[in-house]
Every structure is written in C-alpha cells, then in structure tokens.
Symmetry: D2
Subunit: 398 residues, 4 copies
C-alpha cells in the first residue's frame, strides 16, 4: 500500500512476471540443483527466449539499449519477483555480474567497446565476468591490489592472480581491475581493463570449490591467472586511474540489486516455511503450525522482511532521485541489514522443514549455503558498518 | 525522502515542534527524573499553555473538537518528535491513556458524556484513566475479567479489582472494563463504564511500585478497588456488550501511537549514543567512536530504526486508508518488532555511556527500565506474534 | 584444570591422538572435500589400519569386545580430539551410525546376531546403517511410524519407506525401526529388526541430495524402500515392542557423542579463526586481529565453547555414574545448547575468513552446511527444549 | 554432580545457609524494595547478628581474621546461595565493596591500618567505600586518573572528583585511588590512600541517581569531592605506585565474586519464572507453562545457567590453585559471559511475569535495572573481550 502511487502502473507487469516465474522457472529448480549447469543450459536458454518474447528482458537497462528502462525503484519490485528462484535474474539477462558490466559499458564504454563487448552481452549471446578480488589481498580493502597492467607500446600487459571471478568459466571477456600507476594516490592507482577470454595468458586455474561445489558456467567462481595478457590500451574503460570511481559506481547499485534479490529469496523462504508448517502434521491432526515457536518465527520473519523491504525501496528511490553518492549511507545500511535478515529467515525456514530442509527438495539449502556469502561479497558486513558509522559519528565530532 | 509528497507540507510544523521540544522540554528532563511529578506539575502546565498558544494541541483530534486534525500518518511524524522526551506527549495533551479515552469518547460518547467528560479532558483541565488489567487475570487474555457491573435500578454497581490503571492518581474519572453479562459469548460479555473518581467505593489501593518507583499523578500506575461503585447506566459507553469492540478500536491506534513514540525514543537514544561516542575520550586523543564495537552498534541501530520507522509509517497509512481492522496484521507486527528495536537501541546507548548510562543524567535509564514494559503492555510480544502468525498460517491451511 | 584428577592419566593418550589427527588426518581433508568418498576410501582405510595398530580403535567399546574401554566421560575427551577433522571418528571406527549400532548389538544382540553382525562391524570390515526417519512422518515424533514388520511364519516381512539412513550406501545391514504391533500402546508399537542389505526388496532409492551433495558410501544419507523384505524373526533386537526403549538407549549416548564431536569442531573452527585473524593483513602491517569485531568474536567464542564443553563433560560424567535416564535433562540441554554454540562459532569463523571461508580450502564450509543438521537430527532443538522444560515445569505445578 | 568430591563436605553448610536465606532474608525483600535503606537497617542488622551467631560470617576471610576460611571455589558455592536475594551478601558481611577492601587491608595493610580500619570492618561495626571511578575519565581505562595525592610534609593532600563510590554514604573511610607520581610509567602512577570520612575536605556531593534511585547508606553510589583532604602518609596501602597492582589484585577475585552472585540471581530468577509459569493460568485450566515460547525460555535458561556456572567454578578453582594472574583469561571470560546470561535470564523471567514483572512484587525488576550495570562495572564487556582476545590472538601472531 505504501508507494501505491508509484507501483500502481507496474502491477500488471509484476503479475505477469510472477506467473512466468512460477510457471516456467520453478519447474527448473530441481534440475538446476541436481545437475551441472551446462546440462541444464539448453532448457534455461529456452526460458530466456520465452522471456524475451514476452518483453521481459534487461529490466534495468534503458530502452535505447534494448532494455525495459525501469528505474532502480521499479527494478527493485521486479527483482523481488525474480529473486524467488535462483534462475530468475538469469532468465531476464539481468544476473550478476553481467548486469553490472553492462552498466559500466554503457556509462564508460567507447562506441567500439560497446559494439564489440556490450552489444552481444545485451543480446544474451555471451557472458562476462568481473575480476577484482585477489586471493592474496583482502576483499575488504579494495585499494590493495597486486594485479598490474603495464603499458607497452599501444598495449597493456596485464599480470596477476584473481579469484571469485563469478561466471568466468565460459565468459567471453573479463573486466579486470589492475594497477596502472602504483605511484598514484590510493584511489587513483587502478584502472579497469577488458580482457577477452581468448587472450593468450588468460588462464582459468580452476573453478573454486565453494560450499562443496565447483559449479560450472555462470554458476561458478573462477580462480584466474593473468600471465602477461596483452590487450590494446583501447580496452581500458574510462580514463586511466578511474578504476575505483567506476567500481564504486558499479558496486553501489550492484549492492542494491543484491538486496532486492534477497528480499525475493526471503519471500520465497517465508512462503515455503508457512506452507510446510501449515501442511506438515507433527501428530495425527496436529499441524506444525500450532507450535508456538513456529508461530514466533513466522511473525518475526514477516516483520523483518517487511521492514527490510521498505528500507531497500526507500534507498532505491533515493538513488533514482539523488544518485548513488547521496544514498551511500542507505546502501551500506541495507547491504548488511538485509543480508542479516536473509540469513535469519533462511535459517528458520530450514528449521521448520526439519530433515527436508537439509535436502535439495527445496531451494532453501542452496540459498542457505551459497547466500552465506551475502554477508561477505561486495564488502563484508563489518566494512559497511564501519563506513556508515564513521560518516554518522563524524557529524557529531565537529 | 520516502513519503516525500505526504510529508512536505508537514515539514514546517515538524521543525517548529522540534524546536519547542528541544528548547522547552529538554530542560525539564532532569527535574522530571529527580522529583515527584506533582512538584514539577506547575512547570509542566506552563509548557502546556505555551504549546497550546503555539497551536500545538491535541494533534490527533479532529479540528471540530479543538485538535489539529492530523491523520494517523501525520500524527506518527509528530509523535517521533514528541517521543524524544518523556514529557513530549503530555505537553500537547496527547499522552496515554487520555488520548485513547478521548478517542472513544468522541466515537461512542453521548452528548451528555462528551459534555461532562470529554470537554474538560480535551481542554487539559482534567486527566482520566483506563481501568482494564486485573492482577488476578492475565492481561494477555482480555476476555477473562472478574470485575462486574451489575444493573440495579437505573444504575450499574461496579465491583472489582484492577491494577496498572495508568494515571488514576488524580484522575477525574476512570473508564472501566467490566462484565455486564457473564452469560454472553466471550467477546460480548463486557462493557465500558465511566466511573468518576469521586464515586463512593472508588478506592485507589496504592500506586504500584514499578521498577522501584511508585510515581505520582500522571506518572503512576494505580491499583484500584471498585467496591460497589454505583453509577448511572448512562455512564456506559456504547451499547451493552460492546466493551471488546471498543477496546479493540481503542487499542489498535493506541498501539501505533506507542510505536511512533518509541521511534522518537530510539532517535533520541541514537543521538545521545553518537554524541557521547564522538566526544568521550577513552584515552587522550582517542574517542570512543573509534571502537569497532561502538561503530557496529551505531550502524546496526541506524538500520534497525530506519526500517522499523518505515514499517510504522506504512501501517499508519494503511489505517488511515483502510481502517484498523484491515491493518491488524501490521499493527501486531510493529507492536512487537518496534518494541524489540527500542530495547536493543536503548541497551546499546546505555552500554556506550558506561557508568553514566546507569544514572539519570540522561533519560536513557528511565526509558530502559520503564519501557521494558513496551514488550508487555497492550498485548505482550508473544500474543501479537501468535495472533498474526495464526492469521498468516491460516491462509496456507485451506 | 577442572576434572584434573579424572583427566591426568588420559593425557598421554590425548596427546598421542592429537598428533595422529594432525599428522595423518588433516592432510586427508582437502581430498575428502574434493572427491567422492569411494575415491578416497583406500587412503582412509590405510589410516584406519594405522590407528588400529597404534591402539586407537573403538574407544567407547568395552575391552572384551576389542575396544579401548573408555568411560563416556573419557570418550568425550577423545571425541574432542577426533572431532577436529571430519574423518576423525571414522578413523577409529567410532563414527555414527555404526557406533550406536555396535552399542545396541552389544546390549541386546543374541550370540548369533553378535557373531554375524557385530563382529565384522567391530573389526571395521563392514558398515551398517540405522533406518528410522521416514519422509512422510515427522522425525520429531518418533512414535509415528508407517513402516511395518508383519509376522509371517518364522519371518518378519518388513515394508516401508525410510530416508536419512546415513551410510546405507555400501552398508552390510540396516537396523530398521518398524511397527510390529499397531494395536499396542504408543511406546510399545515398534521393534528393531536387522535387515541385511542383500535381502530381496531392500532397495536404496537414491542417496538424498543434502546441501548440494548426494555423497557416497559412509558420507551419504539414503532413501530406502523396504518392499516386503523377509527376514527371520531371529533378526529382531530385544523383545517385541522394545523398539523405543532401545532407540532411547541408543540415542541418549548418541546425542552426547555428537555434542563431544561438536566441541571438537568448535575448537578447530576457533583455531582456524584465530590463525587467520592473526596472519591476514587488512592493510599493510595491520592484521585482521586488530579489528574490535574480530576480537569480540574470539572472546565470545572462547567463553561459549569453554562453558558448553564443561556442560557436556558434566553430563557424560552423570551418565557414567547414574545412567542415561537420570541424565536425560542434561542430555537434552546439551543437545540444543551445544548445537547452537557450534553454529555461532562456525558462522563467525567463516565471516573472519571472508571469501575464503566460503571455499573448501578449510573444513569450515563443510561443517557450516552439513552441521546445520546438528539442530535437527536426533531431535530438533524445539523438541529437546519442550521435553526438558516440561519436566522442569512439572515439578512446579504440583 | 560434577565437583562432587569437592562439594560433598560443604553440603551441610550450603543447606543451612539456604534455609537461612529463605526463612530470614526473603521476608525482608519487599520492605527493602519499598523503603529507604536506613529505615530497614535495624531489621537487617538483626539478621546480621543472627547470621554471625550461626557461624555465617565473612565466608571468604581466613579464620585467623575471624572468617570462615573458605577457598574461592567454596565461596562460589556459598555466593550462589546468598546471591538469590539482594541482601544475602550483606547479611554475612561479604558485600561489595567492603569484601574487597577487607582483602586488600589484609594483604597490604600495616598492623596500624589493620587495627584502625580492618578490625571494625570485619566486625561489621563500620562500612567502607572504594573510590576509583571518576566522572570525567572513562572507567574502561583505569590508568587515566585526575585525582592526585600530593606529599606535603608527612601527609598526602588528596584532591579530586570521584563517583560511583558505592556505599560511601555512611562509610567510615574510603580507599582512594590517586596519582602519586604523574611522571611515573602508566601503571606505576597511582597509589591507594585511606581517607577517613571525617577528614576535612571529604565531601559527598550527592548520591548519584541511578536508575531512578539515589539510594541510601550501603545501597547508594556517591559522587565525592576530595578537597585537599590531608591524611598521614601512613594511610597509603602498600608501596607508592602500587595502586594498580593492588587494584588488579582486588578486582580479579572481585569479578569472580560478582559472577558467583549473578549465578545466584539467575537461579532465583529461574525459580520465579518457572513457578509463575506453572501456576499462572492464561485461560481457565490452561497454564502459562504450556506455551511453547515459555518452555523454550525455561530450557535455554537452564542450559545457559548450568554452563555458565561450571565456567565460574572452574575459574574459581584455577584461582585457588594457580592464582589470579594465571586465571586472568578465565576471569575476563566469565565477567562478560555470565553478565550476558544474567541479563537474558532476567529479561525472560520478567517477560513471563508480564505486568507483574515490572512491579516490585518480585526482586526481578530490581535486578533488571540495577544489574544492567553488570556489563559495565569492573570493566565493561568490551574491555574484557578485547583484553582476552588480544592475549589469545597474540599467541597466533608469532
């Protein structure tokens, strides 16, 4: 009811999407959890084509680039629907890390870069990856990088070691964060360089085993060695030294994308929890739903999800109106707050399911293990708390 | 920024109120915490007169009754400002339990009742109390009452034992919940009867000692014996047996009033916490604000308050638009959720203040001990969780 | 230092075991996390032979049966050491579910049953499984079973559907909980029947996919159909209708075995957390260990593990002295309490490791996902809380 | 059952003490909560005389000084019994701050000091206070002090501002922490000086209002100004500059005394919670004890208290055997851990009592508000976590 004026006209779209997600994507969940990603790829690609034919494609991308042109606020509502299933965003080609890469290619890409890298990405013909985190340096301190891009003639020679490059397996290119000027000030040291996957020296060491799974294709996190990868200087995004500025711009909305998706996961987990509690009998004629502890979890989860959702939507609205910089407190707040709600809701939903909650009969166990990373990726909780608190407390110190 | 269209025109009022609260009421806090209420009364009454003269009076009451005619949503924003100090609502004559009593007298009072009881209440000439909770019956089960009102000629004879009748000490009258028909169905058993304090048999046993304080006047919670109090049947509010319907109607918005006030308390506690952390040195030149744990509390509190606040405002808006019945899930959710946030924020603010947090140098310790009741009064957490979960789970059971 | 008199003479054994675990088993962890269990089996079996040759074998089994004859209290201390690695208990042939099966075969097995089933189990020549949980009935209510064992001539015909039969894949036999007399009182309805895996009608439907892994061999949880499995009545353990009595006897110490193992996991997680925090730099020259939040987690974990450990040891001591029935409150208390500590400690250890905590570079992610079940198996938290509270509160009611 | 050998011979004493506490002290609770301390003093002093006549006096003081000569471990068990009521320790003359003052007077006092100050303290003829915390300096950093003791002839002239000097109101003397050599190294800067209350310049500004109460006599926390208080140098305890060493020695066991007392409070709160839950009806014939949430609190509290208690006893045992320095990790761990358990248990007990939990009908509300300080006094949680973690992590850093 809140936001009603803003959401009224979006409602038919949300309803149609909801049906698409339930009818077309839910049936893919068990196969997705059971099989290697590539085995499932043909079926998923068919859903993508169907989505595209229904006009569900690139929701957050401007119409001029072939997207639906939604505001961040509107995309938030869409993301809630898509987030209910692990393949939702992929089906509309707005999955991480490609969505973020599209955004910076649109913002900073030269016409040549856009033609070569952005166009096929938007079309869903290729995938990409974002190569920033390094195994030997803490992700919590993004200015501390060992990977370098050294100028040599008209080229950069990229050299370094990355991991957690999501979806690198099978990607057409990587956007690599590399130090271009070690002598520059901390935030101007690095640039973003596009490295096509067929560049000599681009070497996927392995897909890292994460929570017991190496994964495959989009559903994987690669460790990559860049062994003197030579690419033209024209592959740099933006001006030299702008790496952090672009990263910040990419990560701000990226974080909110995650939060929106997490709200969708919460809603699905809540729905599964309630359904199971209402239908599962703990004694003949006595439903699990009658247990006081289960009732408490249902009520607490409902309150926490509703409150978190409003905070996410408010932040999205602020970004739409005032930009990501003005909303940076809000972005940090929702990043850790919603991740915490997500973890609690998933934990309760699993507990309500008992042994079944441990199995892959539902997507709960998948989210439980893989979204544990929600409190880590794109800045661990502690870093966001520190950064927002520092700004708040700074205002009192003067 | 959210709700901006709705709040824009309210902003000048909120700013003026904020100034009133800081300039006029903050200085009364230390005396309020240090002295019996009656000692302070003259000073407080002066602030009331000043507030009234500034047009700050009865914010939630319709203009035709001399109030500011704010919607519940608008009153929520006002309450946030007033809630920052323990005397805020009193200063504008919108304190519990009088505010709720005004509302039911407006809704259900006959012209005679309004003239005799409502008018002086609105004018701030008298105070009232609401006499529902009984020491021998659980407040969590409001249908279980021992107090009776027996018809005798044209009168009711009210007989029973109540406690936690807030502000009964010095009140002009009590609105008493009493069983009028023990044989009726559970929710039609009781009626609300106005019992003037000078009725023979109206006996304040004592002000109950609550968290070490018996209190006085408005700031007290009385134990009352109704020993065959004879009042005319014309003192009944609404039709016979409507007690619960009226109570429900009174408590719904009453709960949201509390939540709005709690958000105000949270904001004040947050402000005190940040200020102390920023200014307190834990070693020469090293502020408390530099401690990671303090930063985490600041960030977590900010996120929790912001999210809870939006949930309260959304619920207020829903009540304004659709009525309290439609919003009853939301009312239950915010009742326990915001009470929980309140307790956590107060706890952190006290911990940051160290020994000073235990003292009455700030209002934190007052709220810490007295607002522990936030999780109990108007329905303990557990009852609200149970009732909202039952409705949610019921939808899945069919 | 507490328990010193009791532990002094055990110390050389614990030290030797500790060395065995570090030197021989830690190196198997990465392969274990990376490969199917059967691939690793030869290497594991070699460690088993080594352990046996060192006298580390069947710690909790009486010497007359070839074990080390430790008391439960002593086994607790051994379990702490073994629990530090996922293969610790397996290496000494005291892993679930075989350990529990050995215990009931010793207690209730006829000489024939012991010769045929117990002897090879003790020798480590075969594995077994325990088949109790049913997909269609809640594990939290163990008296509600659909599997039946019907007498037919000298045989039982076992028919039913089970899941979470750990280690059924490759097991030589199952101990099956089945209803032998549906008309009997609730706790005398069922019996335990030994069903060899080569019995016609014994059908492993699949290893259930648990947290993304179907597993293999011992490291799996099977769904089993018993399609009219005919076994001699001589395969019944104990008298007819004693199923629950035996289950209770099996599960009591079984629960404490788990708790002891969890303490070992906690210690390892604590060790990994501290090591990583001390060595990981978050900025040049600045270790993660300097962060206030990390310090808080270290201190809180230390206190929680130490306190939980003492509670486990006290309970073990009580079982040794007074039997499992007298200690049933303590058993329930540690079951949920230690499981909660385990989950919190693992969560913090992962958070401290950042992205690496999500990977299988350490055993943390393995425990995080699979020991989520600690709060579910052998009675979910809620059931243990309910059962112990009922007993405590019952004493006040009279 | 644990510690049985150690506790067996103490059991008759504990049983007798338990009876004394229930019969003699419980009846004083309501008056204590209702009246100024001095009003109650005659009744309390009578109980003291009775306790003394029964041999219950100075449990932790050596027999040569007229005490019962219990080890710290034994005193822990006694403290659990005494802690069940707010007057327990006072009745046996082992209340803070006098107990700690006795200990340092025994350890460091000259014969003259012992004769003049210690003897009447042990006899219960006078009370004392410990004057360390300063309003302008953080209690968390005890080396940062502004109060000075300047030598002048044979005297010290003590000058400064203290607060939270518990029991200063009516005390015969204060032990004051004051800087004697500002130029010395941080931990050798201060000394402890005995300042009799009748010294000119000793000025109790006020009893600080703590949680709404200024209190009186022993039950108060004074703000004191030392305006050039001249005392002989012979009033210094120990050598000059030993202030911190003595404070540390005083606070170590002092912290464990608190923890033991808190366990007693927990046990009483648990008992009150269970009793109320079992007897309170929430509907006719339906006890509060049947609610799942109440059962969960009972079980969780039982587990947490039991585990915390063992940790306290283990630490006491270690101090007895190896001294406070060797046990300093344990002391820090229990200080914050038990304080946390205490707060949670009190919170649950109040919630179970509903409105009555807010009143002074039980001692719960007293403890809830005043023992909030448990997480602050003698070192806030954060300082203890930091200090123990630093030591643990330091071992990994090398």
């Amino acid at each position: 009811m809140l936001f009603e004026p803003q959401t009224a006209e979006l409602r038919p779209l949300l309803r149609a999407l909801d049906e698409f997600v339930r009818e077309e994507l839910y049936p893919l969940e068990r196969p997705f959890l059971d099989h290697d990603f590539d085995v499932l790829l043909p079926a998923i690609e068919e859903k993508r084509r169907l989505a595209k034919s229904l006009g569900f494609w690139l929701p957050q991308i401007a119409a001029e680039h072939g997207g639906m042109g939604l505001s961040l606020f509107e995309h938030g509502l869409v993301s809630e629907v898509l987030g209910r299933t692990p393949l939702g965003h992929y089906a509309l080609n707005c999955q991480a890390p490609d969505a973020g890469n599209m955004e910076i290619l649109i913002e900073y890409g030269t016409p040549e870069q856009q033609e070569r890298f952005l166009r096929p990405l938007l079309a869903g013909e290729v995938r990409s990856c974002f190569s920033m985190t390094e195994p030997d340096n803490p992700g919590s301190n993004p200015t501390w990088l060992s990977t370098t891009a050294t100028k040599d003639g008209d080229d950069y020679v990229v050299s370094g070691h990355k991991w957690f490059s999501t979806g690198a397996d099978g990607a057409a290119f990587a956007i690599v964060m590399a130090v271009t000027d070690p002598a520059a000030s901390r935030y101007q040291r690095a640039s973003m360089i596009i490295v096509p996957a067929d560049t000599p020296g681009f070497h996927i060491v392995r897909n890292t085993s994460v929570m017991g799974e190496r994964g495959q294709g989009w559903a994987s996190h690669a460790e990559i060695r860049y062994d003197d990868c030579r690419v033209p200087q024209g592959n740099r995004l933006g001006a030299e030294g702008m790496g952090f500025v672009i990263a910040q711009q990419r990560l701000g909305p990226g974080r909110i994308h995650h939060c929106m998706r997490w709200i969708g996961i919460c809603e699905r987990a809540f729905d599964l929890m309630c359904r199971h509690a209402a239908l599962r009998q703990i004694a003949p004629g006595r439903a699990l739903a009658e247990m006081g502890q289960v009732q408490a979890w249902v009520a607490e989860s409902r309150a926490e999800i509703d409150a978190a959702r409003l905070l996410v939507l408010q932040t999205a609205q602020q970004i739409d109106r005032e930009g990501a910089h003005a909303a940076r407190d809000g972005i940090s707040l929702i990043k850790f707050h919603v991740a915490g709600v997500l973890q609690d809701v998933l934990d309760r939903a699993i507990q309500v399911h008992g042994a079944m909650g441990m199995t892959d009969e539902t997507p709960l166990a998948f989210w439980y293990r893989h979204e544990r990373a929600a409190r880590i990726y794109d800045g661990p909780d502690e870093v966001h708390k520190w950064s927002v608190a520092k700004r708040i407390l700074g205002r009192y110190a003067s």
